[in-house]
Amino acid sequence: CLPPSLSLCLSLSPPADIISTVEFNHTGELLATGDKGGRVVIFQREPESKTEPFSQGEYNVYSTFQSHEPEFDYLKSLEIEEKINKIRWLPQQNAAHFLLSTNDKTIKLWKVPVLKPMDLMVEVSPRRVFANAHTYHVNSISVNSDYETYMSADDLRINLWHLDITDRSFNIVDIKPANMEDLTEVITAAEFHPHHCNLFVYSSSKGTLRLCDMREAALCDKHSKLFEEPEDPSARSFFSEIISSVSDVKFSHSGRYLLTRDYLTAKVWDLNMESKPLETYQVHDYLRSKLCSLYENDCIFDKFECAWNGSDSVIMTGAYNNFFRMFDRNTKRDVTLEASRESSKPRAVLKPRRVCAAGGKRRKDDISVDSLDFTKKILHTAWHPSENIIAIAATNNLYIFQDKLNSEMH
């Protein structure tokens, strides 16, 4: 049902840091953001109100806490950033909520109590600190469907942890070569299968996906399945490998498909077909003629995330100029929308945007490729697990859009 009639229901811009991760919990009642300053902000959806129909289901700040602080590794003369790379919620098992947050080196488990009527505020408390297991920078964490374990992945290794045990973890993937001069690829993202607790996937900087089965071996260096699209050798350029690097991988809710994002496209893969993706969506192909300057200003290394809607029928990903894109897998329609104060008043419907090639035919509200602002990148987006509500992080602003007309998934 594209284009959706999304309207802005909340936009927050604390004068603070750049948002670095956004994640709904499993019911969508809570939304957590992490930022570059190591802080986590949790929003809670207000229950529907009969007296004020338009304020139903809006998100308000529930709790804020400092998750990570900057650290120094004196031995290596390295600063460890406090930036929160990822947040993942645990499925709720009792009254309280739990989430995992990670910076480059340390993963922490936090308890988020449920606010009782007499409480004035919610105090989040740290329950576990999982440290000293990663030489390289942690890019992903993923909670297993067994509710007991989770994995953390850095550039070269993936570790498996038990949620109750902090002093050790199992290494399940190690792609570090004996000689670092032989290094050709790094791990870019990893995720557990939503239902099969023995399966996980990890993506690489060379554009491949590897599905691994923990039942086959203790060390999953050998994949069960390798997903790779064959390359056209005549089309190969200096940029080919860089733009093929997968910046994010997400299982569909059904567990049947994988969604990946590389620099210019989003792809849907069928777990049963390793030879090529099922569907390829062009996010911003007009950037192909800008690759030289995008390499010079490092934008070519930007890591965009991607998301499924609850019914796996629509996929979403961010782009530049505060634009984000949605693709309907069934109708094959797509839409470009903008997350910015100027273009969205609360409750007004978002207007689809269009980017035209330089010198191309321009309609009134079109924007030319040459006018795109590459500093305004939407790297982090999240979709409510069951409703048409999305959270978009635009630098240090958080936007939450709701589709009030089509609130149920199709």
Binding site: P14, P15, A16, D17, G37, G38, R39, V41, T64, Q66, E69, P70, D73, K76, S77, L78, E79, I80, E81, E82, D104, Y136, H137, D155, M180, E181, D182, L183, T184, E185, V186, S205, K206, A235, S237, F238, F239, S240, E241, I242, R288, S289, K290, L291, C292, Y295, E296, F301
Partner: protein
């Protein structure tokens, strides 16, 4: 008659090579990856090393700062100009109030 159309990607590649003739042919590979792996986290200036290196080379010029696209190898003693400025971290909560 066949028209030879150069893909936009190949055009961009030619542009890049024209601007940086010393750029290696292999864009991926260990150099770029290692630089990006090690790039995060700043290397601090060791005054002892610096002064000893300076004393050793008192008659020679100090090595100039490398251009952006080449790697600072382990053997190179960083000079103050080489090091990125350490950013201040936000300590106080900005969401207070």
């Amino acid at each position: 008659m066949e028209d030879k159309v150069i893909s936009p990607e190949k055009e961009e590649e030619a542009k890049l090579k024209a601007r940086y003739p010393n750029l290696g042919a292999k864009p991926g590979g260990s150099d770029l990856l290692r630089k990006r792996l090690l790039q995060k986290g700043q290397k601090y200036f060791d005054s002892g090393d610096y002064n000893m290196a300076k004393a050793k080379m008192k008659n020679k010029q100090l090595p100039s700062a490398p251009t952006e696209k080449t790697e600072i190898t382990g053997g190179h003693i960083p000079t103050p100009q080489d090091l990125p400025q350490r950013k201040t971290s936000i300590v106080a909560s900005k969401l207070a109030g």
